[in-house]
């Protein structure tokens, strides 16, 4: 009976966004063995750079204890039981065997910035330092033909093994010919497809690379789309948000180092460990939402008392992300924490449909539908008025006609 119930549950939940955090001892034992074998194989491989994790830690003034604290946090973030902690630590140390190629297309380099933020580096950044970044236009010393050569070498040398990070959207409409890369003038589209062909997996980072982001906002002059609309036949992992949270990038890379597989994804290809929950459900201001205590205008008493930002247009109730849990800037704060609403930057079409703190009921967002709830309310009221006028005409006409009829009869 229990098995049957389990089977039915599996059937219903297979494609849903459900996050299963306890899959039973057998599952985790098998996963543990897989990870063990994977790490052993990784250790056999020659390091692609000479960076040593332990000495890097020491150089940056971090001790082993700090590191292990970080490791247990990451293990929990990846929704793995504590027995995986030593494996996660090992995966971090073996990160220099993992080649990464980073492409920048139609973007603002904000995700590179988020990745490399190194003001007093924490463990996250040290881990990201140690991945073998084989190619990154904004960071590397070579340029022009030399840079292209570097990319060709990396693609050849690590064929089928490198992770391809993509930042920025891809123009596929009229704009495809305007946006070219390198001395050969290759279009973004061709460039991405060529580099993706030999990648182990493609990680789309940031709002632009995942769902088109700001370049794809109406009227989308370049015909921008996200990576998953272009790259076929490769596993694509989306890490949306503007910028993507470095913690989630580290999570995906660590997961890949640990298991050799992409993490479990939701229907929008976002890792469930990071995008399995609504911001609203983990928001520190949630109690004020339920209480009906809202900020009415910027700087009012409600704002000073950290009331809910829903009325100011916070999109937390519709946005899936873990920023209310892991936060940004070394976990110091996040948008709602600093007193502004969520703009839904990790959702598709965020600029047209979510965007700034426009309260839903007053919003007149330029969108393909012609507008958001303000337009809907105006349309609805118009429709109701039209019906009322129709009813009125019919009523008056009937009353007049009825009297005439009665007069006729009498």
């Amino acid at each position: 009976m229990a098995e049957r119930i389990d089977g039915v549950r599996k059937l219903f939940t297979s494609k849903s966004a459900r996050v299963d955090t306890n899959r039973g001892d057998l599952y985790y034992q098998q996963l543990f063995d897989t990870c063990r074998a994977r790490l052993d194989a990784l250790r056999e491989q020659p390091a692609v750079n000479r960076l040593d994790f332990d000495s890097l830690l020491t150089d940056e003034g971090q001790d082993r204890r700090e590191f292990m604290k970080w490791v247990s946090a990451v293990t929990a973030m990846l929704m793995l039981p504590p027995m995986f902690t030593p494996l996660v630590a090992e995966a971090a140390e073996l990160m220099n065997r993992l080649p990464v190629v980073w492409l920048e297309l139609q973007d603002c380099a904000g995700n590179s910035e988020a990745l490399l933020r190194s003001d007093g580096p924490k463990i996250d950044e040290i881990v990201l330092d140690i991945i073998s970044l084989e190619f990154h236009e904004s960071l590397m010393a070579p340029s022009g033909h030399q840079a292209e050569k570097q990319l060709e070498d990396a693609m050849e040398h690590f064929k089928g093994n490198y992770l391809l990070f993509v930042e920025g959207s891809i123009p596929v409409g009229a704009g495809r010919d305007w946006c070219t890369i390198g001395a050969s003038g290759e279009t973004f589209l061709d460039h991405l497809n060529r580099v993706a062909e030999n990648a182990a997996a493609v990680v789309a980072v940031g709002a632009c690379a995942t769902f088109g982001g700001i370049p794809a906002a109406a009227p989308n002059p370049t015909g921008a789309v996200g990576v998953m609309d272009v790259v076929k036949g490769k596993p694509v992992i989306n890490i949306p948000a503007c910028p993507a949270n470095p913690a989630n990038m580290v999570g995906v890379v660590l997961h890949y180092a640990l298991t050799g597989q992409v993490p479990e994804l939701d229907s929008l290809l976002r890792p469930k460990f990071a995008f399995g929950y609504r911001i609203h459900d983990n928001c520190e201001r949630r109690a004020h939402f339920d209480a009906g205590e809202y900020v009415e205008e910027w700087g009012d008493e409600g704002a000073k008392n950290n009331f809910c930002l829903y009325k100011m247009g916070c999109k937390g109730p519709m946005t899936f992300n873990n920023c209310s849990i892991v936060r940004y800037n070394e976990g110091v704060n996040w948008p709602i924490g600093v007193g502004r609403g969520c703009i839904g930057c990790s959702e598709p079409d965020f600029w047209d449909k979510y965007a700034y703190e426009r309260p839903m009921a007053n919003a007149n967002i330029k969108a393909p539908t012609g507008g958001v709830e303000k337009t809907v309310d105006q349309f609805g009221l118009g429709l109701l008025t039209a019906a009322g006028i129709g009813i009125g005409i019919h009523a008056v006409a009937s009353a007049v006609a009825g009297k005439r009829e009665e007069g006729g009869e009498g």
Binding site: H288, E293, Y354, P359, N362, L384, H394
Partner: protein
């Protein structure tokens, strides 16, 4: 009773209960729904957040009446096909007879009751189509509303078990691509459909009052007592 008139049964007890459950639920759903979309009144109570729960009460009320709606929708859908009283689906099939009846009722409406060439002792084709549109709108509210609701159960757990959010995802996830691709579109559609339903209600109330007072058909009695008086017709 006037001579030449007969009493005809038009609604069963169950149908009347459903009607009034829906009517009351709808008023509650519109009031609470407008608050949820745009919390227009502020709490005047100076207690701490922990004691008042204004939004929580509005959402609670909204969900409770929504569930009543959902369950009556299932009953109505069943009665469409299997009612022992009247099977509305029979009036929906576009046969020549039904189309003619639909046209006659519509013509009677726009000619201000000048050509009454249909039988008002049973639910006519126009009436059935009109009510079907209402039920379609309600079902759409059901799917979009449950889709918006299930995201609060994103852990995959609920107080009644994991099957409930799983079932909701299975049943309502399709509304996202259908409305335009994001949760925001589902929300807009849910909101927009409310206006269509309110407009529907405006006409419905007008039409029934009109048929009762000016056309002297006494239709409003149907929803209270279940029957009305109709002129005996020579057939």
């Amino acid at each position: 009773m006037k001579s030449g008139r007969k009493q005809v049964k038009r609604m069963t007890g169950a149908m009347r209960i459903i009607h009034w459950a829906n009517a009351i639920s709808m008023v509650a759903a519109v009031i609470t729904g407008l608050y949820i979309g745009h919390p227009y009144y502020q709490t005047l109570i100076a207690d701490g957040a922990v004691d008042k729960y204004v939004m929580a009460w509005n959402r609670w009320g909204h969900f409770i009446v929504a569930i009543i709606f959902d369950v009556t929708s299932i009953v109505v859908a069943y009665l469409y096909f299997f009612s022992r009283f009247e099977k509305p689906y029979k009036k929906l099939i576009p046969t020549g007879k039904n189309v003619a009846e639909f046209g006659e009722v519509l013509l009677n409406l726009v000619t201000l009751n000048r050509r009454k060439k249909f039988d008002s002792t049973h639910s006519d084709s126009f009436n059935t189509v009109y009510f079907t549109i209402f039920h379609v709108l309600l079902v759409w509210m059901l799917f979009t509303g449950l889709q918006l609701y299930v995201h609060g159960l994103e852990s995959g757990e609920s107080s009644i078990g994991a099957w409930w959010p799983a079932l909701l995802h299975l049943a309502t996830d399709w509304t996202i691509p259908v409305t335009g691709g994001t949760l925001m579109d589902v929300r807009i559609s849910h909101h927009e459909t409310m206006w269509l339903i309110v407009t529907w209600v405006a006409f419905h109330i007008y039409y029934q009052i009109w048929r009762t007072i000016f056309w002297k058909e006494g239709d409003i009695a149907i929803v209270f007592g279940g029957s009305k008086f109709a002129k005996e017709q020579e057939s």
